[in-house]
Amino acid sequence: GRQGGATEPDGSVSSLLSSSPTPLDPSLAQTIQNLLLSRLGLQSHPNPRPGAPVPQYIVDLYRFHSQQYHLVQDPHFSYPSQHVQEANTVRSFHHTESTSPSLPLEKRQTTASNNRVPISFNVSSIPQDERVVSAELRFFRGGGASPGPGAHRVSLFLSGSPGDSESEPTLLESRVLTRAPNTKPAVSWEAFSLSTELFLGAHAQTGSLSFLLEVTPLGRRVGHLRVRRSLGQDEHSWARERPLLVTYSHDGRGEALAAHGQDSWDEGGRVKR
């Protein structure tokens, strides 16, 4: 870091610092760094692959929390005050995409029923000592993926683990999506709240959560939420539209995220501009 005190004209800080010890031995510095990482809840120094996608929702959440309201990109962003009330950690998960080399992308997209799409998430990275207090599954609804005029019934099921084809899917929620025929295509996200008990089960078993999303057009037009990657769609663009599982948890240390700037949003969680 940089010590601003060193620039003070009176030199008072500089004189106090002049007796400071020389820089730490590299191995000692490494030990301190490891201790700090451990305090931050990390076992080692993360080394992400270059260009790892960062979901816009989490970035907007960070910017809103940091009161950088002008940088929030989603015009419909709504701060999830209900979810973060007791949480100091927000984790995001993209679904696990099939990587079977024997199945080309277009084939994989047609193996599932046209209106029932399986999606699963590996949530094993949530530390055991972190308590999930809330969660939601978010689907992109906009542009070409937007349901056409007319209503659609969207049903979310919890299915067994990927290898378990015998158990019947459990209906979690069913809702009807509508859009007025003459409005512009709305770009928004549809969020389904999830029970925290699902995560207890996931941890105890495989560390993954599997769902089925069923979209049934109630009129003649066919439309769906964005759950599949388009042919030829680049990773960056897909990362902004693919389903996102968001968990809100608390590791037992420190304040919840909601404790800051609560006076800056209204009851609906929108920014007071």
Partner: protein, 116 residues
């Protein structure tokens, strides 16, 4: 009088107080996994805790006793200038599995210093 005023001014400058310290994550190589912020104002505490301890120094009763003893016996050290109030910051980072996490970390910013 001028000399006394200058001495008092010098003493007040060296008293325990908060000083600016900007931590740039790039400097410690953490910018590869911390998405935001790129750095933050952490501050640090530095200065002397000498007799008499002013009210704004948030001194503990023990610090006052220790300072009093120091005034009659120099072998006993003065109280320490340490953070007395800290606040959290939120950090957005990529975990070892490349998943994005937003976490509120406690005690990351010095809000106030005092003699303890």
């Amino acid at each position: 009088n001028g000399g006394r005023a200058a001495k008092l001014k010098r003493l007040s400058r060296t008293r325990c107080r908060r000083h600016p310290l900007y931590v740039d994550f790039k400097d410690v190589g953490w910018n590869k996994w911390i998405v935001a912020p790129s750095g933050y104002d952490a501050f640090f505490c530095l200065g002397e805790c000498r007799f008499p301890l002013a009210d704004h120094m948030n001194s503990s009763s023990h610090a006052m006793v220790q300072t009093l003893v120091n005034s009659v016996n120099g072998a006993v050290p003065r109280a320490c200038c340490v953070p007395t109030a800290l606040s959290p910051i939120a950090m957005l980072y990529l975990d070892p599995q490349d998943r994005v996490v937003l976490k509120n970390y406690q005690d990351m910013v010095v809000e106030g210093c005092g003699c303890r």
